[in-house]
């Protein structure tokens, strides 16, 4: 069993996302460790991409900042290596598929295995195209995290039955970004998924306040927050460690209230 299961053993999981290389790659290491210290259970780290199609402006801008620093896939691997010297918190990559394809699937996943990367989320690799990486990811013990959206409906059955690690339940239509209200009927989606699998379910897209976190914590196993984390980094630049810690610990607490 991968380390991912551990992330869901400590009450409801809080899962922050941020883009590697924003504001620079040294800070990526520092911020990951700071958020672990503040009590997060798993970290999703974005590999920067020129055209993050599923992202709202906040995360788009983080990608731009990271690429301005010339952050490469190898730099991201170096940062993971540095994190791994101090921590074995579960880490999942969030990456568009082209940087992985370009790097070479075999080479990429072997490296993930060497560095203890536990999973990969690819927003442009739906169920139908999972074959691109399924065998290689399995060979190197990297879970492919499946996304299930409000529009997935009857697709839930096949996606959930083949899912590994945890399931990323997309809370809202649209791109990533902070939303004041989650309108989707998550209870219904979660019930449909539960009928198929016992994997942990983490909900993301739009969540940013402790109130939302505690609502989601009431119905799912984990809460994923991206844009709000990235916004803190955008505002505080190289001095974001303390505000990140404060936010993460308040959100971890809220998930379990």
């Amino acid at each position: 069993m991968s380390k991912i299961a551990n992330a869901f053993k400590n009450g409801k999981a809080f899962i922050p996302f941020f883009t590697a290389g924003d504001p620079n790659i040294e800070k990526t290491v520092e911020y990951a460790l700071a958020m672990e210290e503040a009590g997060c259970d798993l970290i999703e780290i974005g590999i920067p991409f020129s055209d993050p199609m599923a992202e709202g402006v906040v995360i788009q801008d983080a990608n731009v900042r990271a690429l301005k620093q010339n952050t490469t896939t190898d730099d991201v691997f170096d940062a993971i290596k540095a994190i791994r010297e101090k921590s074995d918190i579960p880490i999942v990559f969030l990456t568009y598929i082209n940087p992985v394809f370009f790097y070479g699937y075999e080479r990429f996943f072997k490296k993930c295995n060497d560095l203890g990367i536990d999973g990969i989320i690819s927003p442009d690799l739906p169920y139908e195209e999972k074959g691109e990486i399924a065998d290689i990811a399995r060979k190197y013990d990297v879970d492919i995290i499946s996304l299930i959206a409000p529009t997935s409906k009857e697709r839930i059955q096949k996606i959930a039955s083949e899912a590994t690690g945890y399931i990323y339940v997309v809370s809202s239509l649209g791109v990533t970004g902070m939303r004041s209200e989650i309108k989707t009927d998550l209870n219904a989606i979660i019930k449909d998924i539960r009928d198929v699998t016992d994997l942990p379910l983490a909900v993301g897209f739009g969540i940013n306040t402790p109130k939302q976190a505690s609502e989601i914590g009431g119905i799912a196993d984990g809460v994923i927050v991206g844009s709000a984390i990235v916004k803190i980094i955008e505002e505080h630049g190289e001095n974001a460690a303390e505000p990140l810690k404060e936010y993460v610990s308040s959100m971890k607490k809220a998930c379990n209230e």
Binding site: S50, A54, Y103, P123, D124, P126, E128, P150, S152, K153
Partner: protein
């Protein structure tokens, strides 16, 4: 060639949120293409609104001047709105309407596809919003106003390189939030399946007509068909019904910009590598680590860092050949056709004209070249004047 694959290219590399909508679109597309009423309605629009069939025009002065193969122009520039884009748009917007959608969105580079979409939306009473890179809104300001006149809302896209690829990104971002009432009317043979197939099928009218016209006029098929390639829709349309005719050479012309050995070009099939982007596996201009590269062309309509998957396949199988044409060659062809035939071509189409100018003199008088004249050049007059350093006063 089904399941959206053309050899290893194509596919559906897109957000889960859009998957059911794409499957539904494909199902509805097949449903309506098998519905005689829909086909009849579309054909009536193509004939009575867009002005089809388009002429197959024998370019006599150009032929004599170049002194080789006989040159014909397939006059897509004469369609309503001035380009081949309307063929696809009438099909897609009518389909959206039948599917019960009330709103269409589109990306646009040169503005031609945006104008065509806004036109069809006006005609069919649909809400329309167009995404256009900020850079392109400046070089094609007239088309922005044209779209607004037609009742569309134009979004100036300020992310990334602020050109066509970024407009595509934002169109997908809009669609993913409004799948319930909106169809994305994509402008070229690109994106996730079923788009490359749908756009190709709607553009295939170009070669269906041309094949017939050649048999009637010349009693034989052309030796070569030449078309410019941005995402590849006019070229796919011009090639499609000749693919089985092995004797017909198919040649696509990419934007060579300031030269394919400089960083300033958009020649994906010459300089690109295989990758996965905008929903498809195909050939893309990309930098180290698979970041999509900024591209450049004098022509906003060819300024795209990739190519539709079926073209990548036609290249690999050797069925079609792709050549880069640089800015200077295209501008010269733009001027040449204007002077020789009294036809001002779109700067995109001028890339195809330029290649014909190169190969016609090397060919036999019995040979025939068809150039797909994908659009008219009114929209480009200002930027060509600028390119030539001519000042136009307001």
């Amino acid at each position: 060639m089904n399941n959206g694959r053309y050899g290893e290219y194509g596919g559906q590399y897109i957000s889960e949120t859009l998957m059911n909508e794409l499957l539904y679109l494909e199902e509805q597309y097949h449903h309506y293409m098998n519905d005689p009423d829909f086909v009849e309605e579309l054909n009536t629009l193509l004939k009575e609104y867009a002005g089809r069939p388009s002429l197959l025009y024998y370019a006599k002065r150009m032929t004599e001047d170049l002194g080789g193969a006989k040159i014909y122009l397939k006059r897509e520039d004469l369609n309503h709105t001035g380009a081949h884009k309307i063929n696809n748009v009438l099909g897609q917007v009518l389909l959206a309407k039948k599917m019960g959608k009330t709103r269409v969105i589109a990306e646009t580079g040169a503005g031609q596809h945006g104008v065509a979409t806004a036109t069809a939306a006006a005609l069919l009473d649909m809400e329309c919003e167009v995404f256009m890179g900020e850079v392109d809104t400046k070089r094609q300001a007239l088309n922005v106003y044209r779209m607004e006149l037609l009742g569309a809302k134009v979004h100036s896209v300020k992310s990334g390189t602020k050109t066509l690829k970024d407009a595509v990104n934002d169109a997908f971002r809009d669609w993913i939030a409004r799948v319930h009432d909106t169809n994305y009317v994509i402008g070229s043979t690109m994106g996730p399946h079923p788009f490359p197939m749908i756009v190709r099928d709607f553009q295939a009218v170009i070669s269906a007509e041309a094949r017939q016209q050649f048999l009637e006029i010349e009693g034989k098929l052309p030796t070569a068909v030449i078309a410019c390639v941005g995402g590849g829709s006019n070229a796919m349309g011009a090639f499609y019904n000749f693919i089985e005719d092995d004797e017909v050479k198919l040649i696509g012309c990419e934007a060579g910009g300031k030269g394919v050995d400089t960083p300033y070009n958009a020649a994906a099939l010459t300089n690109g590598k295989i990758g996965i982007f905008h929903g498809m596996k195909s050939i893309f201009n990309q930098g180290d680590y698979g970041q999509i590269a900024p591209v450049y062309s004098v022509s906003a309509g060819l300024d795209y860092p990739g190519v539709g998957p079926e073209h990548a396949y036609l290249r690999d199988t050797g069925r079609a050949e792709y050549v880069p044409i640089n800015d200077e060659e295209a501008v010269e062809a733009f001027e040449y056709l204007s002077r020789m035939e009294g036809i001002i071509p779109a700067i995109e189409s001028a890339h195809a004209v330029a290649h014909a100018m190169k190969i016609a003199p090397t060919m036999d008088k019995d040979d025939i070249i068809m150039i797909c004249l994908s659009g008219r050049g009114d929209k480009d007059v200002r930027s060509i004047a600028e390119y030539r350093g001519v000042e136009l006063n307001e």
